[in-house]
């Protein structure tokens, strides 16, 4: 079973409409109740600089969150929550619902599980792509040392 901490990031890689359609279909006769107000806003990215170890705000990022309770017609109750770096509250709600469905294995949980597996593959592929891009930006400083050695040898001669 995939760890719960990976569910939201895996599902986020999938198209929003697919998430929305799936969760709407699965929850059509369920009662959904918010445990806290779903909201969207900005998170402040704090970082410590290395000279004086003081914290400063590097910038902002979009953050949406939702926490809800699901009750099915046969009396199953589950809670789900999600925080996602996105400005769409609807996305956070859909992800929170997926979290509830899979954690309590409510009807339709297999669909969510297979979506997560697909999402993990996409996420892995994206991460590999980013690693390759990052590797291409690295500077090989040892070449500079070689260049300096050659230059000094020329001068001394």
């Amino acid at each position: 079973m995939i760890e719960r901490t990976n569910w939201v990031s895996a599902l986020k890689t999938l198209p929003f409409n697919e998430l929305l359609d799936t969760t709407t279909e699965l929850s059509s006769d369920w009662t959904l109740r918010p445990k806290s107000i779903p909201q969207s806003g900005l998170g402040m990215l704090k970082i410590k600089e290395s000279a004086f170890n003081e914290q400063f705000y590097l910038g902002e990022f979009c953050l949406s969150s939702a926490w809800l309770e699901v009750t099915t017609p046969d009396g199953q109750v589950a809670e789900g929550a999600a925080q996602v770096m996105d400005d769409r509250v609807e996305l956070a709600e859909a992800l929170a619902l997926c979290d509830a469905i899979l954690s309590a294995q409510l009807p339709g949980w297999e669909k969510i599980s297979s979506m997560i597996e697909r999402g993990l593959i996409i996420r892995e592929s994206t991460n590999n792509e980013r690693k390759q891009m990052l590797t291409r930006t690295q500077v090989d400083f040892s070449l500079l040392d070689d260049a300096n050695d050659k230059g000094n040898a020329h001068v001394s001669n």
Binding site: L20, T23, T24, S27, L32, R33, P34, K35, S36, I37, P38, A66, W67, L68, E90, E93, A94, L97
Partner: protein
């Protein structure tokens, strides 16, 4: 997707905020709330949802709120002597020392929100005067213990330090800011 009770929605809270400003500006005036919580929820939530967030604190010594209400309010639960807002039942007097503010910052005081049975009718008749009231204003209340008003008087003796009161019944609000003189008839 999620059906949110209208009291938690921005447009309702803006309307209620306007109502609270009017209540404070015209003490004793009974103003009708635009929206009440659905499913028989605590009426005070109409006001609390407007005033509270994670930057302020609330004390609920009479346990009027449910656990789920606290989660929706997203506010801090603290002791009565530290709270920015205190929610109590009007008919049940409880003695405590609320925050009264400081001379440098008198606004750092508590607002007491009392849930009463009915505003505008009742045996308790208050004669109000002061800023926002042209001459005098009569306010009748059912379900408000007179000791609250005596305690308010004690708290406000060192004006501008003191507390402000908001009264709520099942559909209306009225306010008694610390500048209002209250005489029990």
């Amino acid at each position: 997707m999620l059906a949110i009770d209208p009291v938690w929605q921005a447009d309702t809270q803006q309307a209620h905020f306007r109502l609270l400003l009017d209540a404070m500006a015209y003490p004793g005036r009974c103003l009708i709330l635009k929206t009440l919580p659905i499913d028989g929820g605590q009426v005070a939530l109409s006001v609390l949802s407007t005033l509270l967030d994670a930057e302020v604190s609330l004390a609920d010594p009479h346990k009027l709120l449910k656990d789920d209400d606290w989660k929706m309010l997203q506010t801090n639960s603290v002791a009565v002597d530290e709270a920015d807002y205190i929610l109590c039942t009007g008919s049940q007097f409880t003695r405590f020392t609320p925050k009264l503010g400081r001379l440098k910052s008198p606004e750092q005081s508590a607002t007491l929100i009392l849930v009463v049975d009915k505003l505008g009718v009742g045996d308790l008749k208050l004669n109000l005067s002061g800023p926002g009231i042209q001459y005098n204003k009569l306010l009748s209340v059912t379900g408000l213990a007179a000791q609250w008003l005596a305690r308010r008087e004690e708290c406000n003796i060192a004006f501008p330090l003191g507390i402000d009161l908001i009264l709520i019944d099942d559909t209306q609000i009225a306010a008694l800011p610390r500048t209002t003189k209250v005489e029990i008839l």
